[in-house]
Each structure stands twice: as C-alpha cells, then as structure tokens.
C-alpha cells in the first residue's frame, strides 16, 4: 500500500510541475479567481454609489393632490424633499420616463386621516428603473414615517 501511495505521489508531483509550466492552463485557471472578485466588487461599488449618492441630493417628489395633505407636504419639505405638482396623468408620465415616481394623495385622504383611519396614498413607479426604485423607497420611507401612528409629526 505504501509503495502505491508513493507512486501516486510521484505521479501527482510530476503532473503539478507539468501543468504549472503550461502557461495557458495556468492563466485559464487564474482568470476566474482573480477577475471574478474584481467584477463582483465593481458591480457592488456601482450599485452602492447609485443608491448612496441619491439621498444626499435633494429628492424631487411630484405629488398629485398636495393640497389635501398639507401636513404631509410640510413634513416632506422639512426632510429635503422638493415637492412639485405632478402632471395630470402621473401613470403615463412615469411610464414614458418624464418622472421617476409620483405620489397621488387620494380624495378621501383628509377624511380618513381626520377620522384616524388608514389614509391611502398611491405611489406610481416604474420598477424596472434603478433610480425609480431608489426614489420609491425614499418616498415610501418618508410616507411611512409620516403616516405611521406612532410617529405622526406634531405639525
């Protein structure tokens, strides 16, 4: 048995030398371990930059029916959100890419909010656009903070 393992070792050692001297197979073997993490890192860095760069800039949120929720609008503006009036047809505007997202404050918002019931707002977003997804998360975040009962701003 010992001689058999010794022979296997001799053959293995020969194969290692032979293959390490084969530049093509060595470079092929090295390419994936070296290039793979670099590509992965570049991808993660790119996505991370896109996501982290956005919140620092002023976030423009088109709102339809802003007058129905003055407290919400005031709160959003307080949190660096530039509130603008949404186009008449927010769905189409988002679809064709004029705007990333739009917040629609429904007609019964004031009544519901006043009655301490759940108040409905609609967020229009094109989920296939990265910037739109970021915009959506931000809009949802500020809306959730605003509308969650525990953190209703005093304003």
């Amino acid at each position: 048995m010992r001689t058999m393992f010794a022979r296997i070792w001799v053959v293995f050692a020969k194969e290692v030398i032979d293959n390490m001297r084969d530049r093509r197979s060595v470079s092929m073997a090295m390419i994936y371990p070296f290039i793979g993490p670099v590509l992965m890192g570049a991808l993660i860095a790119f996505v991370g930059d896109t996501i982290t760069a956005l919140p620092e800039s002023n976030f423009t949120l088109p709102i339809q029916g802003a007058s129905r929720a003055p407290a919400l609008v005031a709160y959003l503006e307080e949190h660096n959100v530039v509130v603008v009036a949404a186009p008449d047809d927010p769905q189409t505007a988002v679809q064709i890419g004029h705007i990333d997202t739009a917040l629609i404050i429904t007609e019964n918002y004031t009544d519901s909010f006043g009655a301490e019931r759940q108040a409905t707002v609609n967020l229009v977003v094109d989920g296939s656009r990265l910037s739109a997804v970021v915009a959506m998360s931000r809009a949802l975040y500020v809306c959730w903070v605003n509308t969650a009962p525990a953190s209703v701003p005093s304003a």
Binding site: T3, A6, V10, V11, K14, I17, D18, R21, D22
Partner: protein
C-alpha cells in the same frame, strides 16, 4: 533471461501472433527481426505487461508477465515503440520521474541520473525541456529513463530508427556495453544489423527462424544476411489449420 513460449494474440479478426516461441539469454543481444506487421511489437508489448497474451506465456527471469507484472516491470527496461515525452519537463526530470516510480530516491538516484547523462552524452540537453527535441535527443531521454533502475533485461523497440549515423552508432555501442555487463538485450529491428548474437526472424505471427547469423546463412545458403532475411520472410509459412 527472457522466455517466450507459444504466444498467441488476436485483435478481433487479426491474428497478430500464432504461436511465437524463443528465448533471449543473458550476456547476449537477441534481435527480433521481421517485416512490418510481423508481430514483433505485439510480442514485446506482452513481455512488458501492457498486453495479455491470448495463449502461451512470456517470462522474464522466470516471472510470468501476466501473473507477476510488478516483478517483471522491476526487471526490465523498456524503450517502447512510441517514445512519448512530457514536453514541459526537462530530460533530467524525465529520468528522475521514472527512477522515482521504480522506488529510487535521493543521492543514489541523482548519481544514477548523472551517470546516464554522461553515458548517453546528454550534458547539453539534460536541463532543457524536451519540447522541440530532435529524434536523437528524444531517443536518448527515452533510453535513459528505460535504464534508470539498472534493469537486468533491456527491451528495445527499434532504438536506432530515425537516428543519424553518429547517434545510431552511439546507441549500438551502448547496447554492446549492456551486453558486456552480462545483461539480456532483446532488440527489435526492421533492418538487418550485425549487432546481434542471436536472431529471431518473425513473420506472419510465427517464428520463421532462430539462430546465430552464421546458422541463418547456412540454412538459407545466402552469404548476405539481408538476402537471407528476404528469402525467409518472402513466402508465407505453411500453416497448420487448427
């Protein structure tokens, strides 16, 4: 000492060997000679344990190549018909690799390699990778690795094939030297050479003649050994149908 007895081997419909028997003695160079396709290489392959005979036996120093291949491998050095070298290993590494496979190691192996390198006049190529080696250089490497474990029996399949005059002469001198050491040399060739003590003429899978050069000359009535060879291998032998 090599004894081949009644060796038969078929590859599907091809009867390569139809009962080959001969002996190769220590201290002699035995030439296995015959036209292409006569069965010389098949006989040799059975001897060096890579083929199993259909019938009959091949023995090296009394060990049967089929029953005790390890013992046979230890006792033979083989220059096979294909010399296949690893192109990215140096000549010295080839010899060292085969030495290690035979269980040699350390200073004794290195000393043996050095001895072979100087004996085969390989100093200039010993530490070069074998890629791009000439036929003669390849032959030297193949010979050195066949002889690294100092085998008592040496099997050579056309060792001078494709060599220039100088290299062929060097190989012949080496073969004579192995004989002088009292070892057994079995030597396949397709051309008649004056090197052999004993000639075994093979044709159509059988032994057509077996004897010294003088005996073969006397038997055929030809003074020229080459003519004798042509005469012996020309007509297919009468074969008994089993």
């Amino acid at each position: 000492m090599i004894e081949v007895e009644g060796l038969e081997k078929s590859f599907k419909a091809v009867h390569a060997l139809r009962g080959v028997s001969f002996s190769a003695y220590d201290g002699e160079i035995t030439g296995l000679i015959g036209p292409n396709g006569a069965g010389k290489t098949t006989t040799l392959r059975i001897l060096y344990t890579v083929l199993r005979p259909g019938r009959g036996s091949a023995k090296v120093d009394g060990f049967d190549s089929r029953l005790e291949p390890r013992e046979v491998q230890r006792r033979i050095g083989v220059l096979a018909d294909s010399r296949g070298l690893y192109p990215r290993l140096t000549a010295r590494e080839h010899v060292r690799y085969f030495g290690r496979l035979h269980g040699l190691a350390g200073a004794s192996l290195e000393a043996r390699i050095d001895a072979l390198v100087s004996m085969l006049d390989m100093d200039d190529i010993a530490d070069r990778r074998t890629k791009g080696f000439s036929k003669g250089q390849t032959m030297k490497v193949a010979l050195a690795r066949a002889l690294v474990h100092n085998p008592h029996n040496v099997l050579l399949d056309e060792p001078t094939n494709g060599l220039d005059v100088g290299a062929a002469r060097a190989v012949r001198n080496l073969i004579r030297r192995i004989r002088e050491e009292g070892r057994c040399v079995l030597y396949i060739m397709s051309e008649v050479e004056q090197l052999c003590d004993r000639l075994v003429v093979v044709g159509h899978g059988v032994v057509l003649a077996n004897g010294t050069a003088a005996e073969l000359r006397a038997r055929t009535g030809q003074q020229d050994l080459e003519e004798a060879f042509i005469q012996m291998t020309a007509a297919p032998p009468e074969m008994e149908t089993p």
